[in-house]
């Protein structure tokens, strides 16, 4: 599928272009209000937008050409694009089976056959036993799985997912995530666009990721590259990693944010500028006893600092130091206890070369 769309809603403009292959999951990440949902709704034909949408060999949207060529806009009901949102939006007056059979029925499949297909889909999502129930009798996670089954039963040419896990509890979200992952590389594979505010969803599910900010694409590429080496402070903050401007110091060492670091990726020659990225969780917090007798750091990838701030994060504590205020370090809870973390404490920090990504340029 090939998308190149521009939409305007009030004072907000959204502009995005991307390709997604059959069987591929493309993640679109960004904070609230970055235009992700606008993009999906425009692809689904639910919002007026300019530009083109091509799925397989079908042109769903095409701008008016010069001269007599008229623009194309296929209405939502004939686009064969399924859109699944945060809320399952099952039809409350239909049974779960009838919900899943809705797509085939609407497309003219006889009732018995549509119900047979629905039952198969429900088996796939693990809801075979609940087919006769009303949606209201299902848990939130079950409803969302039924909604996934309903979307797939319509046999769409593309599947758009708008924060499909955001409203689910952790186990249900994990289940739904596995279900989406299973669609990848399937025989009847279709392109899937997954909008999420959580970069970890992208990491788990998507080979490629597109980052949106204020209605524009700010970075796109393989998920590993986008999240592994963000090209801007914005994306770094979204991905939750430290990103520092770096200058080559020769001998494979770069200076960044007052640190001397060795890493992998590009080699910066002396004086050449670039950037380094590392995750707060890759940094090991140690007592100052690892340092030289005079208390100085003894080499690259090792530094010291006095703790100024401690914040709880899942599974540990994020700390910052007076010496390197722009660098966050995550310390696992057990380690934090062993060290007796407290503000004002002087600590040593160490990071493996393998965990430091270096790139030429920004």
């Amino acid at each position: 599928m090939r998308v190149d769309l521009h939409a305007r809603r009030g004072g907000f403009t959204m502009s995005a272009a991307f390709d997604a292959q059959p069987g591929e999951i493309l993640a679109v990440i960004g904070p609230n209000g970055s235009g992700k949902s606008t993009l999906l709704n425009a692809i689904a034909g639910l919002l007026p937008a300019a530009g083109s949408v091509i799925v397989g060999d079908r042109v769903l949207d095409a701008p008016a050409g010069p001269g007599a060529a008229r623009g194309t806009h296929v209405p939502p009901s004939r686009r064969r694009i399924a859109l699944l949102g945060q809320r399952p939006l099952l039809f409350p007056h239909l049974s779960v089976r009838e919900n899943v059979a809705f797509g085939p029925r609407a497309q003219g499949v006889p009732r018995a056959e549509a119900h047979r297909r629905a039952s198969l889909r429900l088996e796939e999502v693990g809801l075979g036993g609940l087919a006769g129930r009303r949606p209201a009798d299902l848990s939130g996670g079950q409803q969302q799985r039924a909604a996934i089954a309903r979307a797939l039963a319509a046999e769409p040419d593309a599947l758009l997912l708008d924060e499909p896990f955001a409203a689910l509890d952790a186990p249900s979200a994990a289940q739904a995530r596995r279900l989406i992952a299973a669609q990848q590389g399937d025989g009847s594979a279709i392109p899937i666009v997954l909008v999420t505010h959580d970069p970890m969803d992208a990491l788990i599910l998507a080979a490629r990721t597109l980052v949106m900010h204020d209605g524009a694409v700010v970075q796109s590429g393989s998920t590993a590259e986008v999240l592994g080496h963000p090209r801007s402070e914005f994306v770094a903050a979204l991905a939750g990693v430290n990103r520092l401007e770096a200058v080559g110091a020769g001998d494979g060492v770069v200076h960044a944010g007052g640190l001397a670091l060795r890493g992998h990726g590009d080699a910066l020659s002396a004086g050449e500028t670039g950037s380094v990225v590392f995750a707060p969780g890759s940094v090991r917090t140690e007592s100052v006893q690892v340092l030289a007798e005079d208390g100085s750091a003894t080499g690259p990838n090792l530094w010291t600092g006095r703790v100024t701030q401690l914040d709880p994060i899942p599974g540990g504590i994020r700390l910052q130091t007076a010496e390197h205020p722009g660098i966050a370090v995550d310390c696992p809870s057990t380690h934090a206890v062993a060290l007796g973390l407290h503000p004002g404490q002087r600590l040593a920090f160490r990071i493996d070369e393998a965990d430091v990504s270096i790139r030429v340029g920004s």
Binding site: S77, L89, F91, G103, A154
Partner: protein, 303 residues
């Protein structure tokens, strides 16, 4: 239509609550609460609030009690089984039913249009629809005469074609539809708004045509509001007096519906006042029967 004496405000088919029902998760407000949820009544209410509330209940219920007390029960059977009474009842039920069907056929499309129109158009339509609701029915009757009367806007043309509507049973139906249509439209529109368009969008993305979406999603979701609106409409048509009296007259067997029969009986010699009260009782019973029937239907309805 009175909802006095009902304990559960959820079930009262007044449009403020019943119209907003709808089992869609988008419907908020008191009607969205599960009625089985344990609630402790009145706990957080200031005590003085109870005084006007009780007076309000009395205002709604006392007249009916007075009516029952005042009733000469001995004459009731004869009064309500008299040929004149049965004729009026039959005419009332028939005309009100026809008017309700007409209202549903015309009103549902209007309600859908209003609910899915841009703001300004919906406002204009809503104002126009509400007009007969706030006008005294007598004024409505005069307006209908001005339109369809012998020298009326359309009446003249119809007269040429040999059609005269005023003072016929058709006039009764038109008068009833005129005053009852707003009730149906406004309550169904409210229900449709409460449902929102999200389910419709999902249905469209699954490949359903507009008509399929309307038939299989919009209408079923709006069913509670549809029923509430239809019941209100029927009840209003059944009780319609002013417009009918002016536009259709008071000819026994042709245009004398129950309200007109009651009025006629009441205005007759003093001895007939009891008949008027007995007929009122009959009308109350019919209205109650409709409410009970609908309630039973809804209790067993698909949720």
């Amino acid at each position: 239509m009175s909802t006095g004496g009902r304990r559960d405000p959820h079930e009262a088919p007044s449009w403020s609550t019943a119209a907003a029902r709808g089992d869609s998760p988008t419907s908020h407000g008191p009607s969205a609460l599960p009625s089985s949820a344990p609630r402790r009544h009145g706990e957080h209410l200031p005590a003085w609030l109870l005084i006007p509330a009780i007076i309000a209940v009395l205002l709604l219920v006392l007249p009916f009690i007075a009516l029952l007390v005042r009733l000469d029960w001995a004459t009731v059977p004869a009064a309500i089984t008299s040929p004149a009474a049965l004729q009026a009842l039959g005419l009332s039920l028939t005309t009100a039913a026809i008017a309700t069907v007409i209202c549903a056929l015309l009103g549902v499309p209007l309600a859908v249009t209003m609910a899915r129109s841009p703001g300004w158009l919906a406002s204009v339509l809503r104002t126009l629809t509400t007009l007969p609701l706030v006008l005294p029915p007598l004024v409505g009757g005069i307006a209908l005469l001005a339109l369809l009367g012998r020298n009326g806007l359309l009446g003249g043309a119809l007269a040429v074609a040999g059609i005269s509507i005023p003072f016929t049973t058709a006039a009764v139906v038109i008068a009833q539809a005129f005053v009852a249509l707003p009730f149906l439209v406004i309550s169904i529109e409210g229900a449709l708004r409460a449902i929102g368009t999200e389910h419709e969008r999902v249905a469209a993305s699954l490949g359903a045509s507009r008509f399929t979406v309307f038939r299989r999603v919009t209408l079923p979701l709006a069913t509670p509001g549809l029923i509430a609106g239809t019941v209100l409409c029927f009840a209003r048509a059944l009780g319609e007096f002013g417009a009918t009296a002016l536009f259709a007259g008071n000819a026994a067997g042709v245009t004398r519906t129950m309200p007109l029969a009651i009025y006629t009986a009441f205005n007759g010699a003093g001895v007939e006042e009891d008949t008027a009260i007995a007929l009122s009782l009959l009308l109350i019973l019919v209205a109650l029967a409709v409410l009970v029937l609908v309630r039973g239907w809804r209790a067993g309805a698909v949720r």
